[in-house]
Amino acid sequence: MPNMSPKKVPMPEQNPNERIKNFLEVALGYTEEMAVEEAQRCLQCKHRPCVSGCPVNVKIPDFIKLVAEGKFQEAYEKIKETNSLPAVCGRVCPQENQCEKVCVRGKKGESVGIGRLERFVADWYINNVDSKPDVPKKNDKRVAIIGSGPASLACAGDLAKMGYNITIFEAFHEPGGVLVYGIPEFRLPKSIVKKEIDSLKDMGVEIKTNMVIGKVFSIDELLAEGYDAVFIGSGAGLPKFLGIPGENLNGVYSANEFLTRVNLMKAYKFPEYDTPVYIGKNVAVVGGGNVAMDAARSAKRLGAENVYIIYRRSKEEMPARLEEVNHAKEEGIIFNFLENPTKIIGTDDGWIKGIECIKMELGEPDSTGRRRPVPKEGTEHIIDVDSVIIAIGQGPNSLISSSTKELKTKEWGGIATDENTGATSKKGVFAGGDIVTGAATVIMAMGAGKKAAEAIDNYLKNNN
């Protein structure tokens, strides 16, 4: 008999007044009892809309059934058949737009907490099972993977399972891409990311850090050196700036720089760690996506008193996850909707003292279908801030495309690929994730990595 409660079993969370003083994870996760109770809400329906709602098609009802029966290890193995990073996905996927959006239980009441259950299973496995996965039998083919973010990790995991010899080349000193430099500790503990990556290493995936491809080796050199195929998953890491006066004042950060300092370099532990970060008393974060939420909530935890989100559209158009917006509100982040910065005002010695904004109203829908914000003349006003963090999106880095012959790019600089296979214009070279789509989600990138792994397998089987 399924559990017919219309609501999800709530997940314990750190109290907002406490958590703004630390970088520990906000959501604490289910206990075994909570997980079993929530798993019993799944109706095990035959048409399984949730599975098609998942970009990597996790066999959701099957793993949930195993959770309901208390078979947590089997549940983990079921998820791992299609998802290399369940502890990550269970935490950062926007399930409300994916698997949980189409869950039958969501029609009357709340959908099944699929993400929470996936997270529970992955955490349970990490805490309770010590055995290492079997190293798959290797074939004689080598694949080079550029970048070690979600697209690359998914691609590497799948190809390793098929027996390919995988080498990942990462420019930073630590693998994980946005999972380590972008998403903060309080949403995704770095120890979890490390464990997930270690499990790939245990499967024989080699990771070379400090390797800036395009500089130290070109793609052509990798192919010449004996790699049979290459996957490019280098992401969209190039920060966009507003192009307004005052943007180079001291105290203005791109969200990428701010978050890299805080997350990857652990500047929140300065001076125990050597990398500093500057944060003022009053902080303006410009933008309305997840990156803006992460930056604002990090600023609060670094001791800022007032943190403003300045977003040019209204709440409804915000691309950030609802859960994160709610978390931000609970933590006292102030939302200034329908406002756009016009200039950043500095002191005589070059530090920020304010940000001038203009009020906006929504006009006709633009090409993305969202109503275009239009400035309301004469509504300029100044907000007193001493830090500004720009989080208005990222573009693709051209290090790889500019150093690789025959690689076609799109107008905005992303790599052009075949939609179904991820194949680029260059033979044997595939690409996926943000470098192809522009900044999107972790799970979309993983989906692209999986698809490319399949295509690389086909290519290598038919090409020799």
Binding site: H173, N210, K215, F241, N248, N250, N256, Y278
Partner: protein, 281 residues
């Protein structure tokens, strides 16, 4: 892990190290840099590639002990290792088709100017090198510079080596004497690069400066190193570090460099406590 295979003390504050990193040595060109991190808790610090040996697989770095990281690096010895060493980063200097060049190094900037002078010399250009230091004690790479230039001028601010004055004074004199340079390369403190650029502007001599802003990743993904050049924002790590000195907004760059002064003082203080006193070693 990257092994220190050679260490040389150039003066009381400046040290040279050859690091074994064959893949970087193979690709490195003058004007490029590396980013290193000494250990797990360390910061990422950019240092210019001062030289490289493709056969031996080594990359030479020269650094001045100014903060915690450089002091810590200076305390390492031959055989010790550095955790992370990434490169070569940035765009190589464009040195082709130069007939006559003046290469100016200010202080530690001499270490960065050296590979440029060496390459220009190798390409057959007439090289006039001017290297300037605060005092005699701080002079570095005099012999090396001499070997790759047609004329070498060594100045000290206090005249302790005999030639009192600034590099700008010498360059001004050389230009006034009728030397027609196609290219001036100025590398050193921002104020010095600014002064050289202002000096050459009225003569319309192409002047290249090497910017050294604060960096984190060095691959173009954070914009921490942004500089305004000709009114546009450029990232020194991917668009530079070489830029047209007549277009760089030096005042902004000077201001941005001071952003972490307080933090730097704090971390140096803590480091010295750990060493057991205010030792400068």
């Amino acid at each position: 892990m990257f092994k220190i295979v050679n260490k040389r003390i150039l003066n009381s504050q400046v040290k040279l190290m050859d690091i074994y990193a064959p893949h970087i040595a193979k690709k490195a060109e003058p004007g490029q840099f590396i980013i290193l991190r000494i250990n797990e808790k360390g910061e990422r610090v950019p240092l210019t590639i001062a030289d490289f040996d493709r056969e031996k697989g080594t990359v030479t770095i020269i650094f001045q002990e100014v903060g915690k990281t450089t002091k810590e690096l200076g305390s390492l010895n031959e055989g010790d290792t550095i955790l992370d060493f990434a490169g070569p980063l940035g765009i190589p200097s464009k040195l082709d088709n130069v007939k006559k060049a003046a290469v100016i190094g200010g202080g530690l900037g001499t270490a960065i100017a050296y590979p440029q002078a060496k390459k220009l010399n190798f390409l057959g250009a007439e090289v006039h090198a001017i290297i300037g230091f605060r005092n005699k004690e701080l002079i570095i790479l005099e012999e090396e510079m001499k070997a790759v230039s047609n004329k070498l001028f060594v100045t000290t601010d206090d005249g302790s080596n005999g030639t009192k004055g600034f590099a700008t004074d010498i360059l001004k004199k050389l230009i006034e004497e009728g030397n027609e340079y196609n290219l001036v390369i100025a590398i050193g403190p921002l104020v010095m690069m600014k002064a050289i650029s202002e000096l050459t502007r009225p003569y319309n001599i192409k002047t290249i400066v090497s910017m050294n802003p604060i960096m984190i990743d060095g691959t173009g993904m954070c914009g921490g190193c942004r500089v305004t050049v000709g009114g546009e924002i450029k990232f020194a790590c991917v668009d530079g570090p070489d830029f047209d000195g007549h277009k760089v907004d030096f005042d902004e760059a000077i201001r941005r460099q001071s952003m972490y002064k307080k933090h730097e003082a704090e971390v140096v203080k803590k480091h010295q406590c750990k060493l057991g006193g205010g030792s400068d070693a």
